[in-house]
């Protein structure tokens, strides 16, 4: 579903990604872990078509970047630590706007479906600026799955959430993953990543330093694996 070969990203003289090789099979849930400044967000922004690679190949759902970016975007759902929602629009107005941007037909039914999924059906007419951070993040996930994407990218989705909101987000993420979507999530929260993902990749100093599936992980725990990858 996702194939990345020798990906390099430079900002001026600074090289953030130094030849990343990365592959994700359909239906996999990959947690991309690493310290601050490792290049996780930059990598996800390239996959999301928001940033252009300096060198290397990126192929998502059979389409190549950068020339087929629009086709990739139609199959991609992105959630970041920012909600990507308009505070002066209600929950349903936000979803209606994005539905029109994605060219979804019969979107009123789809919006109701999404609001039920993220547990905001009763707040559909409330302005998003009145929502708590957790509610905004749930609606952000609703926005991202609105067009039924094959691939979901989550960039630190738990940032700024309290315990209850994080637990609710866990449930929504599990629902999204259980539907057979391919998911790539960056996170600093190892416990949550261990609970959700089927594969763990460690990004360090601009390269994938280690990769292991959940089955391989049974012998050790994620924290040990993470520390070993960063030390090596």
């Amino acid at each position: 579903m996702i194939t990345v070969k020798k990906l390099v990203k430079r900002f001026g003289l600074k090289t953030v990604l130094r030849g990343v090789d990365f592959e994700v099979q359909p239906g996999e849930f990959v947690a991309l872990l690493g310290p601050n400044g490792a290049g996780k967000t930059t990598f996800l922004r390239i996959l999301a078509t928001l940033s252009r690679p300096s060198l290397g190949e990126v192929n998502i759902a059979g389409y190549k970047l950068p020339h087929e970016a629009a086709q990739i975007r139609a199959r991609l759902g992105v959630v970041s630590h920012l909600p990507l929602l308009y505070g002066d629009l209600s929950a349903e107005e936000n979803l209606r706007f994005y539905a029109r941007m994605y060219g979804i037909s019969n979107y009123e039914l789809r919006i109701t479906e999404i609001l039920e999924m993220v547990g905001l059906e009763t707040r559909r007419r409330d302005l998003v600026r009145a929502f708590s951070r957790g509610m905004q993040q749930r609606l952000a996930i609703g926005r991202a799955v609105l067009h039924d994407p094959d691939v979901m990218l989550f960039d630190e989705p738990y940032t700024g959430l309290d315990q209850d909101a994080s637990s609710m987000l866990d449930d929504v993420l599990k629902t999204v993953a259980a539907e057979g979507r391919t998911v790539v999530m960056t996170s600093h929260d190892l416990a949550r990543a261990e609970n959700l993902a089927t594969r763990f990749d460690i990004l360090s100093r601009g390269i994938i330093a280690a990769s292991a599936t959940r089955k391989q992980m049974k012998k050790s725990n994620l924290l040990t694996f993470y520390k070993q990858a960063l030390a090596g």
Binding site: G27, R73, L85, G87, D88, R100, M101, Y102, G103, D150
Partner: protein, 254 residues
């Protein structure tokens, strides 16, 4: 894409039965159409603005303050007032427009909404045209309120078809360039300062043409006398809109 979703649904069948997403097949995604995306952005901007009045109110208060200050500061006789009208008007529109353009793009940037727009499977020039039309509507609304106030304060009749046409053409050119440069400056830390510094030199030919054409119309001269200024305004609008259309995609990329 429809086939693809159906395949996906089969794979997800077990999980879907109890899921509220069982109506998913009703959602049909395709590469969004250009005009639908443009109209969606305009609808979203107008809806949000007519709920908060953040942008129009700040532009309007600024504009009214400027013309009030000029009115009391200059204390001119009727004849001299007429000769400065075009300059005062266009200075007011230009500075108020900068406020509006900055705010319009800041709304997109603050909650990451610009990324939300860029993630849509549409040609990115649709985002430009959507924002351009919204910004133009806001500017024209402010101008429609400022003109009668100015007419009363300065005792000048501004409701002349020629002048209104010049204001429309000037506003189109100003907003076309302003939307492009606001998208560029909003990505910097000094966006509030940077936009006027970038924008005003670029729109200088447009402002000069608009002031000259307005002056000629207000002096009661023949239309033939402003043809060259009028043509310059039209050429500026066409060329700068085309340039903005071509550059917008590159400006927004990392």
């Amino acid at each position: 894409m429809t086939v693809k979703i159906n395949k996906l649904d089969r794979r997800r069948k077990t999980a879907d039965r109890a899921s509220p997403l069982s109506l998913r097949e009703r959602a049909r995604v395709r590469e969004g159409s250009f005009t639908k995306a443009v109209s969606a952005i305009v609808w979203k901007d107008l809806r949000a603005e007519f709920r908060s009045y953040e942008l129009i109110s700040s532009m309007l208060v600024f504009s009214l303050l400027v013309i009030l200050i000029f009115n009391f500061a200059l204390e001119l006789d009727i004849k001299t007032r007429q000769s400065v009208t075009a300059g005062v008007l266009w200075a007011t529109f230009a500075f108020a427009g900068t406020l509006g353009l900055n705010r319009s793009m800041a709304i997109e940037k603050d909650r990451g909404c610009l990324d939300g727009l860029l993630l849509a499977p549409v040609d990115r020039s649709a985002i430009y045209f959507g924002k351009f039309i919204s910004n133009l509507v806001f500017m024209l609304i402010v101008e429609a309120i400022v003109l009668p106030v100015y007419s009363v304060l300065y005792n000048t009749n501004l409701f002349q078809p020629g002048l209104l046409m010049v204001i429309l053409l000037g506003s189109i050119g100003y907003t076309a360039v302003g939307t492009l440069l606001a998208a560029m400056s909003v990505q910097t830390r000094t966006r509030d300062v940077l936009l006027p510094i970038l924008l005003l030199p670029v729109v200088l030919p447009l402002i000069i043409a608009a002031v000259q054409a307005s002056n000629t119309i207000l002096a009661g001269n023949e239309f033939s006398e402003i043809t060259s200024w009028f043509n310059l305004l039209i050429a500026y609008d066409i060329i700068l809109t085309a340039v903005a259309f071509m550059l917008f995609d590159y400006i927004l990329e990392d």
